[in-house]
Amino acid sequence: MQLPPALHARLAGAPGEAEPLPVERDPAAGTTPFRFAARQDGDVQRHLYLQDVLTQVAWDPERPRVPEFTCQVAGCCQVFDALEDFEHHYHTLHRNVCSFCKRAFPSGHLLDTHILEWHDSLFQILAERQDMYQCLVEGCTEKFRTSRDRKEHLVTRHLYPADFRFDKPRKSKGPATPGPAVQVSAEALGDDQVPSEGDAMEVCFEHTELPPEPSGERRTYGHRIPSTICFGQGASRGFKSTKKRNKHQ
């Protein structure tokens, strides 16, 4: 097919509309805009592409590496020899960290919720009177009176697992605690259900100011952060009520 040479110049030219000449399609010809049904080949090409495009990544532990370096975050002594590994480590463990209790969260959203529900005494006060426990699913604006109600909602409405890791029970152990005996609230990474997942890396997060509370779920591995940190009503009053976030850029 031979195209007129001026066509390419027209493409590169300014936008414009042709002044309609009286040469028009005859409506009697009957071909108005139509939906094209038999479009097989375009679909076939699309699927061949999906199948062929092997997104190649370099996950092989034997791949070329860089000289060992240590994570620079205070208290972390994890060593790496590949940048991608460090990136993921950093985002997982240092990015959304609660500056009160050092727990790490997978997202800013969950961190915010945690700080609000665990470390904000104003929240506790308000929660006695109104629905404060926000649904954890992004886009859902429902709020609940108790964290247990919220969990119920997560399971029945959003089909979340009942043992969703980021919504674990927190046992409140202060002296006279008004409200429900067991607060269920967003909980961090670091709470492994399987006791045997003792983790050498946890040593780096141990904060000497944290009292290892004896609790029913105390792990036998001394280096781990206790699975439930009880601040209770008394302890939380010792912190400022304004949100503090460990912001890493």
Binding site: M1, Q2, L3, A6, L7, L11, P15, G16, E17, A18, E19, P20, P22, V23, E24, R25, D26, A28, A29, T31, P33, F34, R35, F36, Q40, G42, D43, V44, R46, H47, L48, L50, Q51, V53, L54, T55, Q56, V57, A58, W59, P61, E87, H88, H91, T92, P106, S107, L110, V137, E138, G139, R157, H158, L159, Y160, F164, L189, D192, S196, D199
Partner: protein, 476 residues
Amino acid sequence: MRLHHVEPTAAPPQAVELRGEELRCRRREREAALRKARREQQLVSKRLLRDEDPEKAEGYVAVILGEAEIQQFLRLAQRGTEEKEREKALVSLRRGLQHPETQQAFIRLEGSIRTLVGLLTSNQALLQLEAARCLHELSHSEQSTVAEACLPATSYLLTYLSGHSSDFIELCLYTLGNLIVESEAVRRQLLPQGIVPALAACIQSPHLTVLEALGYALSQLLQAKEAPEKIIPSVLGSPLPQHMLQLLQPGPKLNLGVAVEFAWCLHYIICSQVNNALLITHGALSTLGLLLLDLAGAVQRTEDAGLELLACPVLRCLSNLLTEAAVEAVGEQMQLRDERVVAALFILLQFFLQKQPSLLPEGLWLLNNLTANSPSFCTSLLSLDLIEPLLQLLSVSNVVSVLVGPLLPSLLDTLAFSDTEVVGQSLELLQLLFLYQPGAVQAFLQQSGLQALQRHEEVAQLQDRVRALQQTAQHG
């Protein structure tokens, strides 16, 4: 970008011919299988991230692991004392999971998914990553039982989409996309778990790899048979459509891999006809029109493979949107009026003729829809000298005769005018028409063409052309 087409590997000279033929043959077989699947409405394809080197892939065979071995690796990953040991165990598991038999053994083993999910959500970042890679292999299975076995992991995969580790998010997205296309049970769980808002939040990522993965996952979601009722309305109600259109805007930031995925997303949405008027008010027509211009420019400049992958959905989206009544209702900026679109289309038609003839009908379909209600675009065909190229396409496509059909009556009409310029041009076009479509002569005679010509027999400027036409019409 880590996009990688599987290319034929280098081979000693005498083997090249055979290898090339073998690959072409295999490709033809795959195309035939895909066509068959499409006819039976069973077209399911997935994407895979893997660390194999395609050059080595030929000889690589995934090791089949039995239940006992799988259990051993899982135990080691979970309870090993050495970090490296735990990682290596998961890597071995992951390699084994490349094989369907290992996948089956894995899902048969009690507690295996639970353990894997435990590792996925552990505080050991690298174990988390490897566990996710294992899940990804499982997601690639063609057995829906394997996909459904991964259900306990989905809430976590979605949670991790709001994180920051781009490689990890990319992995989760491809995994989700694969699971989505495999099983309706998976979709029935993911929707209430909030996949649409999660994807909407993710589309703001600055990482191209994440965006491409997101486009892929979304395209799988939008193709579901229940999509028009259950999925597309909430997608249209989210910020997704505006962001999609932004990602399709031509310019230095346009990324081919990303654009391909979102163009297909748009195509599935438009086909569903849930609310195309909304897309038009978001400027879909002008965005896609500009993208078409960009594509035409690109095909002139480069031998780049893959442009037709984007051209196809763009053509379809434009063609379908042009059938919407809403087109008339929107303001001028939102409409498609720029005649450069016609120029671009013909440049693409020429490209298709050479590289992908199967796309010609789709391009001509767009041409039909462009000219159907637009005298201006019809005029552009003339003013840009495109009638002859169009007629040249008569031999390759029946669709052209549909387009060309109305040409004769229109040209006959113009013979009634007195403007010599216009008439002269029409005479030349008639000559071309007779050249490419001999059948037009009969129609011309039947529609009193000769009488129409008589008017101009004495006009000096037109005489020669008139006589030539009379000759052709009467003597063939």
